[in-house]
């Protein structure tokens, strides 16, 4: 009996926390492969390296849970970043530059939200359009040239409080905020409902439009912040930066168990997904794996990790359904 209980508990842990088990397994393997892997500096480096895409991934998680998507985040990040750097260079005010970055992200995503809600344009198309427009404005504004000599602005990406780098602090704050919004607010609960079944959510009185625009606005703040961090980290206002970041963010969210069909996903899962990708990149560089081979290995391990996560969940669902079904089937057979 005790054995059965323990096995069931293990099954529950395995299915519910499978992505974290993958992460732990990865940490063990990476540590065996490289003695430097678990050093404080290396972990700090990995955390800084993944901070920008993880912040974007938190935004994508919120959107995907609500049945939405943002393909424009890489371009909006660049636009917010170059405007923010420009304002800093003109005024010397860090707080104003920070505010401008957030406002640009917010405005672009407000437009995304309006396009999706008011004009019923699919999120994929609306944000694809924004991706082109935002990149175009960033390039027009800078004439395609980088903005150099950004001075104290680098603090947002290279500074630290104590031993903790600023980008990591931002990443943690945004992670906690996402966790709180999703799990502890009525907005979060409504978001899951809208993403899970929009019609049912509407029937239960949820204001779908408000939820969708709200999700884009939150994402906008995250994207603006990511733009500020990236420009500061690279010490340059680069209008061509952030290309392909939307896919890195989506990868982290999906690996972390966010379902593309909506209604499923957690902040913790996304963070785990981002770390899995970060650890993979890091260990392959530490081990000196060839660039081309890295792509093959990365793709294969991502497929394996997600495959295992899905298998564990499906297995659990089958067992739950099976356990509920078997007694009924027996009763039906007796009758």
């Amino acid at each position: 009996m005790n054995n059965l209980m323990t096995r069931e508990k293990w099954q529950t842990i395995k299915s519910r926390y499978s992505i974290y088990l993958v992460l732990i397994a990865m940490i063990i393997v990476c540590n065996l492969l490289s003695p430097n892997f678990l050093s404080a500096r290396n972990i700090s480096n990995i955390s800084v390296q993944i901070s920008v895409t993880t912040i974007l991934a938190f935004g994508e998680t919120i959107l995907i849970i609500g049945g939405l998507l943002d393909l424009s985040c890489g371009s909006v990040l660049a636009l917010a970043g170059v405007f923010s750097v420009y304002v800093f260079k003109e005024t010397g005010s860090l707080s104003l530059a920070f505010a401008v970055g957030l406002i640009v992200g917010l405005l672009c995503n407000f437009v995304n939200g309006i396009l999706v809600r008011r004009f019923s344009i699919p999120a994929f198309i609306a944000t694809l359009a924004m991706m082109t427009v935002a990149r175009g404005i960033a390039l027009l504004f800078t004439k395609g040239q980088n903005i150099y000599q950004i001075g104290d602005y680098v603090w947002f990406g290279q500074g630290s409080i104590g031993i903790i780098p600023i980008p990591v602090i931002f990443m943690v704050v945004i992670g906690v905020l996402t966790w709180y919004i999703l799990g502890h607010t009525s907005f979060g609960r409504s978001l899951y409902a809208v993403g899970g079944n929009e019609e049912a959510a509407r029937a239960s009185g949820i204001n779908i439009g408000r939820i969708k625009v709200g999700a884009y606005l939150i994402n906008g703040i995250f994207v603006g912040l990511a733009g500020i961090i990236l420009m500061a980290r690279t010490n340059v206002g680069a209008p061509n930066s952030g290309q392909g970041y939307e896919f890195e963010a989506l990868t982290a969210a999906i690996i972390g168990g966010t379902s593309f069909s909506g209604g499923l996903g957690t902040a913790g899962g996304t963070l785990a997904g981002a770390f899995i990708v970060g650890f993979l990149n890091n260990i392959m560089n530490l081990a000196g794996v060839d660039s081309y081979l890295q792509q093959v290995i990365k793709g294969a391990i991502i497929a394996l990790a997600v495959g295992y996560d899905m298998w564990a969940k499906v297995n659990r669902t089958r067992k739950t359904l099976g356990a509920a079904k078997i007694p009924n089937e027996r009763k039906e057979a007796k009758a």
Binding site: G144, N146, N282, G288, S291
Partner: protein, 318 residues
């Protein structure tokens, strides 16, 4: 009599119009500059330079088209430029071999073509203006032969594979440096796609794995600047040497401050000026074909002040 006079007047006016049109046509050459990707800062710098330079020639106008680093788009722009009867096309290839058949067809259709940054070789009838990518890296490699210490550990940052400039620069480092300095060990080598942030990520990992890195060998300035950003405050790497190519504003400032060792200037203004001057010579019949290169001077702390002026002119350095 009156009728004859009218005929003469009409004929004279028509002849005048025809002559005026011919003159106007002869004096308004249409050029298409098909850029690799306006999001690429060097390509944007070149496009801006071409637009500035063409203002010096009242008989020429330039339209800039952005291929967005996409072969299919670039090829379509070449076809469209031929169909729209541009007098001359300047092609900055995304991938020379992918654009080759389209450039060959444009030449066959009688349009003058210049390929630039990088040139597409061996297309009879087309011209080219470029900087020699082998030499750009070689001038740095020859300097490094004297500077990099015995038994040094170095890291190498490459451009995208298949890109002619990336491959030829790496080839130059191999032949001019690594083959001659077998004592030097490459402790990390990755493709960072010309990208600063990607180079930072690689360098952050390499400094974890290696206590000693003596030099950064980078195929462009952007990646060298990224790697330097990682070690700039680390006293362990205070004497690290760093080599790049391009002569970007950021590299010039790093060289001036003593953080970067050298770069080879690929001056987009020179490239633009030469492209436009060759285009004018081709269109006015002064020449029928030419393959020419701009210089790629080595920039070190000793001469960087001269080159910083170029970037002050563009507004990149204030």
């Amino acid at each position: 009599m009156k009728f004859m006079k009218s005929i003469r007047t009409v004929t004279a006016v028509a002849a005048l119009c025809l002559a005026a049109t011919t003159v106007a046509q002869a004096q308004n050459y249409k050029i298409a500059f098909i850029a690799r990707a306006q999001a690429d800062s060097f390509a944007a710098w070149l496009a801006n330079g071409i637009m500035d330079e063409v203002k010096k020639y009242p008989d020429m106008t330039v339209d800039v088209m952005d291929s967005q680093a996409d072969d299919a788009k670039e090829n379509a722009f070449i076809e469209n430029a031929v169909a729209n009867k541009y007098d001359l096309i300047i092609v900055q290839p995304n991938n020379g071999e992918a654009q080759r058949p389209y450039v060959e067809q444009a030449v066959k259709d009688g349009v003058k073509v210049i390929t630039t940054n990088a040139r597409i070789k061996n297309i009879p009838g087309s011209s080219s203006v470029d900087a020699d990518p082998y030499e750009q890296a070689a001038v740095n490699a020859r300097l490094a032969l004297k500077q990099i210490p015995q038994g040094a550990n170095v890291v190498v940052l490459n451009g995208p594979s298949g890109n002619m400039h990336a491959d030829m620069r790496r080839d130059a480092w191999q032949k001019e440096f690594f083959d001659k300095r077998t004592d030097v060990k490459i402790v990390g080598e990755q493709i960072a796609h010309w990208n600063k942030e990607e180079a930072m990520r690689y360098m952050e990992d390499w400094v974890q794995a290696n206590d000693k890195i003596d030099a950064i060998v980078s195929m462009n300035d952007n990646m060298a600047a990224g790697a330097l950003e990682v070690v700039k405050d680390d006293p362990k790497f205070a004497k690290i040497l760093a080599y790049g190519v391009d002569g970007t504003a950021e590299a010039m400032l790093l060289i001036q401050s003593g953080k970067m060792t050298s770069t080879a200037l690929q001056n987009a203004y020179d490239l633009a000026a030469k492209n436009i001057s060759v285009a004018h010579d081709l269109l006015t019949g002064k020449i029928t074909q030419i393959d020419t290169d701009i210089d790629c001077p080595l920039v070190t702390k000793d001469n960087v002040a001269t080159f910083i002026e170029i970037h002050k002119k563009s507004g990149a350095i204030k």
